[in-house]
Symmetry: C2
Subunit: 374 residues, 2 copies
């Protein structure tokens, strides 16, 4: 797995159970995943020779994130390395412009969009779409980085900002959505696929903060529609591994695809404690071409809340407190230094009573962050 | 954790989630747990200097097995190392003679026993106990090793065998039991304790092959009695960490304590998939003096069946087959070379219908072993 973040870290327990050796290429020996695997490789994921050398020790190359340069991945594939998901599929998670074009060609509902070349084109797009737009760099964004909300009053220097990265810019209509959903599926090389229950995800400042599985009050036909869309994207793009399809659910009940991720995704963390097979285990099974495990939920509801760092770097007393307060809460810690706003872990609660599960999970996250003190 | 076996290996997923660094002292870099932790220490667990050096890198020293010499543990404690469970408690899992004496002094029902000095004393014991006895070396036995079934007809060389190890020998009455049970508890340094549901365990040739949680058809008062006995032993012996109390349930419904283990135990493996908090997580929480997690079962029944090696060293096709046949089965692989009779993994199935769960779990174990081919 290329990348030493928490996604690679959370893949290790699945690898331990399956008897799979998880090798990790990390930028730093102290990274989240590097702490928990045998002999992590500290190397530069942007350097082809480092990737080539790492790939020699592996049967299959897969990813903790989308930031490996596509040209390197193509070169690795050409040299015979088994890259999963493959370069052609992965491009649609790396490049939002390519993703929009492909999904539109497939007839999948998306926000209206245009790849724009300069602030002048942005201004025209804004006028044509009700006075608002969302600008996104087509490559390199994550967790709200690389996204700008624009309207007719936005200062010119802000409108100019997205163009500074030197990559194409995508303008999208501002969708009036009721909530955000995510459909996570896993697909193996010979085409077996499983779909997890569709979840509701809540973002704050572009960062996922809460996931409820399954999405409450969702008509089953609409959930099936979301799963079918995700399975269809996985099949048509030839995705191998986990694919997360983030969607907007509009007030009229329409589903519009927002983003794709081709790796275990924050909206699937609930599955570690809440599903028969976690997304991490199914990602491994898929990229290794093993039969996939059941994605079924184990409880009527599972709530996952991310723990974001607060102002106090030493969270150990709070960590103990939340465990003492709630012996049924599942705490997941990423081994990262605490910094304000940084994802340092998550908590999961499962059971029948959604309101109580949400209260329990949020209490723990808020307490660790230092927002409440009892 | 001293010891690189599957118990240390299965502790790693719990450590990953808790954000705890699990260090492992292994005899060989290829051992089960050594494969899955950062920088395992390859050293001799029988050498005090190796243990001392390893302990310097750890906050707490705990164990994958009971084979570290008690004198070394005393020396480490004297040098200020935090050893959990402590030497005085652990002695009762290391020395069956000490265990029997202590439990008898506590008034806990056990098989009738005597520490015997020679084959002559064995012969007297056999005559006094209905013509049968079980002989055990007081130290060093595991998985049926160090145990002999004796009766009046047993050949003298067999009766002499247990004495060859040079450690005291325990003679016990042959108990006419209906089944074997195990009560697993975890206890932290300041005395918090949790008790897992009492399970039924099935042994074959001294090796645990199946565990059903909870023990089917067990009157709740008897289950509570077993849990109370285990909690009382943990408290009186000052155990820190997981304590497994193996018991015989006689046809009259009496519970007799057979063995103690002070570490995660085969009879607790079901808890990884079947309980809110696994025995491995609670062992870590206990030895680190963190609040303990709920030991509650997540399903009406959980069945664990050990995978023992068969004659075919390459089990990969069978491994794939059982995953393809049953997407709800949880497969745990220990990363060990397959040898006939060796524990190389286990499978877990959970749900409502005990007969079907047993069929599913046994099918997988039998198929991987090569005993069945469809």
């Amino acid at each position: 797995m290329v990348g030493g973040g928490q996604l690679a870290r959370m893949t290790q327990p699945a690898a331990v159970a399956l008897g799979v050796r998880l090798a990790v290429l990390a930028a730093d020996a102290g990274e989240s995943a590097a702490q928990v695997v045998r002999e992590p490789v500290v190397a530069d994921e942007k350097a082809l020779e480092d990737l080539t050398s790492f790939a020699k020790s592996c049967d299959v190359l897969t990813f903790d994130h989308e930031h490996v340069p596509p040209a390197h991945l193509k070169a690795l594939e050409a040299a015979g390395v088994v890259v999963r998901p493959g370069t052609n599929a992965l491009l649609h998670a790396q490049d939002k412009g390519a993703m929009r074009e492909r999904l539109s060609a497939m007839g999948i509902a998306c926000p209206r969009y245009r790849v724009v070349a300069d602030p002048g084109e942005v201004a025209r797009f804004v006028v044509e779409h009700g006075g608002h737009a969302v600008l996104k760099t087509t490559r390199g964004g994550y967790d709200g980085k690389g996204v700008w909300l624009i309207d007719t009053d936005t200062a010119p220097e802000v409108v100019a900002e997205p163009f500074r990265a030197g990559v194409p810019v995508l303008a999208e209509e501002r969708v009036n959505y009721a909530r955000e959903l995510s459909a996570v599926v896993a697909r193996s090389p010979h085409g077996q696929a499983v779909a997890y229950p569709v979840v509701e995800s809540v973002q704050k400042a572009g960062i996922c903060v809460e996931v409820v599985a399954p999405a409450p009050g969702m008509p089953s036909e609409r959930a099936v529609e979301a799963q079918r869309t995700a399975l269809r994207i996985a099949a048509e793009l030839g995705v191998v591994g986990v694919l997360a399809v983030e969607m907007f659910e509009t007030t009229e009940g329409e589903l519009l695809v927002n983003e794709l991720a081709m790796r275990p995704h924050n909206s699937g963390h609930w599955s570690i404690d809440g599903a028969v097979t976690s997304q991490f285990e199914n990602h491994l099974r898929a990229v290794l071409d093993l039969p996939l495990g059941s994605p079924d939920a184990r409880a009527p509801y599972t709530v996952m809340v991310n723990i974001l760092g607060g102002d106090l770097p030493d969270v150990y007393p709070a960590y103990r407190h939340v465990m003492a307060r709630d012996s049924g809460l599942k705490v997941h810690w990423y081994g990262k230094a605490v910094r304000p706003g940084r994802k340092v872990g998550h908590v999961t609660a499962y059971g029948d009573d959604l309101a109580s599960l949400r209260e329990r999970a949020w209490h723990a996250a808020d307490y660790i962050r230092g927002d409440i003190d009892e």
